[in-house]
């Protein structure tokens, strides 16, 4: 885990004091809402449907038990006893009082956390692979690189007022667990001739105009990385469409001028930026990497697991991931109980996960973009005891990557931008498919729901996607098929006319029936869709 140095801590403490003062001035009437709004947004504070909402940054989704406990403490003391883990690996509180904000941010700062750059047209929290540093298939640990980018992008004076928000993802394996190519910049760390560098993709994103980021550079060595990224941002900052917020994301720029021309301009700018000497020496990456050194893994530990408890065996089959060290696995804790709210965790559950991380996972936790929690380093011999704790706390759901492991944005139940509710639809679908045998028969099926076109629920990347729209004042749900945010990235296509709340649940069931009737050996839902096309699904839906 990265630890703040005196500069990090003093910067964050200063920001807490500054925002505390700004809140006080707002409450005294010295600032109008128009004046205050950009200031609060810079500190992750939104005004949502019911109250202020605070979005807390969890850098590349990594946190330790002390930080996790603080999230639980804030939920309990200042909010209504729960928090919501987001598709950007952050956490949101839904019921924050303005008068408490200074104290909340001070509490966060006391455990090296903040809410800076979780809103606004700046570089947002860097996202990454939830299994970073643990996965058997990574070429290197992406977290030091993500941390380097965090430090580079925090308070970057040139990129604090970009045309629009800017999201970067870093992965280090061929398997993409971070929806990397659906980010403004996606970085895949690769090894070439014994040297690790980054393959760069630019111009991906979801929202109203979904795009898959094209590759614009096959290899950037560490020594050039920040200069190259600086050049990417500079070209965007210069030519991004500030005149139209719907065309202001970098994906529009890259699409309009073409990836080749964009890459050419970046190279031209890079030639200039490189002369400025902003790239830190290799020793800086090594310094950061030292914070992410492996924990004290035991050697010679057994790979044997007693699977005699059938419920445990079911969970084990779906919720663990291969680890780079023998005798260990990474465990995903599902925050998707049947009928529950995807991504929500109570303060007690947050505390429990912190305790379990401390006891079984070298004090580490991760947040996934699928709104689940990972314990990255669990000894196989401890799995049964761990599962028993999780099961008793309602956190033992064995539905990872199955149809009830649904990504859902807060939707119209909480969000002022939403047009329709997402969570009730997720609950109804999960309940319809509650039978675990049925879920397992369907196999890997990623279902993602957004309550508006902004696509926080990643519906474009769902094997099955659902988009809530407002049709003459009533909620209506469009069905999309064939998306993926993984290494087989693709954008889902809309099936046809939308459905009401109950109709969309029936529609999901119909398309799964079509899949079961048509699938070939070993095919996932999305594989069958890609092979047979949209027609049989449309036929079943619309006759």
């Amino acid at each position: 885990m990265y630890k703040y140095d005196q500069y990090d801590q003093s910067i964050v403490d200063a920001r807490v004091a500054e925002f505390r003062d700004q809140c006080a001035r707002r409450l005294k009437g010295e600032l109008t809402e128009d004046q205050f709004k950009p200031l609060r947004l810079m500190n992750g504070l939104y005004l949502q449907l019911h109250a202020y909402m605070l979005r807390v940054a969890i850098p590349y989704g990594t946190l330790d038990s002390r930080q996790m406990r603080m999230l639980g403490h804030i939920a309990r003391k200042y909010d209504r006893g729960y928090g919501h883990f987001t598709t950007r690996q952050n956490l949101q509180y839904n019921w924050i009082k303005l008068e408490d904000c200074g104290d909340i941010l001070a509490d966060l700062a006391s455990v090296e956390m903040h809410a800076i750059q979780t809103s606004g047209n700046c570089i947002r929290n860097i996202s990454s692979d939830q299994f970073a540093g643990a996965a058997a298939d990574e070429v290197t640990d992406p977290r030091p690189w993500a941390e380097l980018l965090r430090q580079w992008s925090s308070f970057h004076p040139e990129f604090s007022y970009l045309p629009r928000k800017f999201k970067i993802a870093v992965i280090a394996s061929d398997e993409d667990r971070a929806a990397m190519r659906l980010h403004d910049i996606g970085m895949q760390l690769i090894e070439r001739d014994g040297v690790v560098g980054a393959k760069i993709f630019v111009g991906g994103g979801m929202g109203r105009t979904p795009m898959i980021a094209p590759e614009i550079k096959d290899f950037v060595p560490y020594e050039d990385l920040l200069s190259y990224l600086e050049a990417c941002l500079r070209v965007y900052n210069r030519h991004g469409r500030r005149d139209n917020m719907y065309k202001a994301r970098i994906k529009i720029l890259v699409h309009e001028i073409g990836a080749e021309e964009y890459a050419r301009q970046v190279e031209e700018e890079f030639a200039h930026v490189k002369t400025l000497g902003i790239d830190p020496p290799r020793a800086e990456l090594d310094r950061i990497a030292a914070y992410f050194a492996d924990p004290a893994f035991e050697t010679g530990v057994s790979d044997d697991i007693d699977c005699s408890d059938p419920d445990f065996a079911l969970w084990l089959d779906g919720n663990v991931h291969a680890h780079k060290r023998p005798g260990y696995v990474s465990v995903t804790i599902s925050l998707k109980p049947i009928g529950g709210i995807p991504g929500d965790a109570s303060a007690d559950q947050i505390d429990l996960m912190a305790d379990l991380a401390e006891r079984y996972s070298f004090d580490e936790l991760r947040v996934t973009h699928s709104q689940n929690i990972v314990l990255p380093h669990v000894k196989k011999a401890d799995l049964y005891a761990l599962w028993q704790h999780l099961h008793a706390a309602g956190l033992g759901e064995s539905n990872l990557d199955l149809i009830s492991d649904i990504i859902a944005c807060p939707g119209l139940d909480y969000c002022s931008l939403a047009n329709a509710r997402s969570i009730p639809v997720a609950q109804k679908i999960a309940s319809r498919f509650a039978d675990m045998n049925r879920q397992r028969e369907l196999g890997e099926l990623k279902l993602k729901i957004s309550g508006c076109i902004n696509a926080c629920g990643h519906h474009h990347a769902g094997h099955i996607g659902i988009l809530g729209v407002d049709r003459k004042g009533t909620e209506n749900y469009q069905l999309l098929l064939g998306g993926s945010g993984a290494e087989d990235v693709s954008l889902a296509k809309i099936t046809g006319p939308g459905f009401d709340e109950d109709g969309i649940v029936d529609a999901v069931e119909k398309v799964t029936d079509v899949y079961l009737a048509n699938r070939a050996e070993g095919e996932r839902f999305v594989d069958t869709y890609r092979r047979v096309g949209m027609d049989p699904f449309k036929e079943a839906l619309y006759g």
Binding site: A51, R80, I341, A418
Partner: protein, 98 residues
């Protein structure tokens, strides 16, 4: 009818203009007719409300019902957490929203 709504500056709570004061309960809201915009300006300047705006609503026997679902969700609370809504004891409260 027209209602004036906004958020409490300190707490962020959804509030409704009840004629002379603000209420957390939409049942208390009064028809602001064509005076909503001027009322909003006065109340916002006095820091008694944050981000006020005028909405359409329908008068019913149980009080005003906002015309748009978004404002009905604001009035009640999240339909998926009725325990946190303004009517936690009513299991059918969510039906009012839809």
């Amino acid at each position: 009818m027209k209602l004036l709504t906004g958020n409490d500056l300190k707490t962020g709570d959804v509030i409704w203009w009840a004629g002379g004061e603000w209420s957390r309960h939409v049942e208390d809201a009064v028809d602001v007719t064509d005076k909503g915009e001027s009322l909003a300006a006065t109340e916002e300047a006095a820091r008694r409300v944050n981000a006020p705006y005028v909405i359409d609503a329908v008068a019913t026997d149980n009080g005003p019902r906002p015309a748009h679902i978004k404002d009905r969700v604001r009035a009640l609370g999240p339909t998926v957490r009725l325990d946190l809504s303004l009517k936690p004891a009513d299991p059918h409260a969510g039906n009012w929203v839809i």
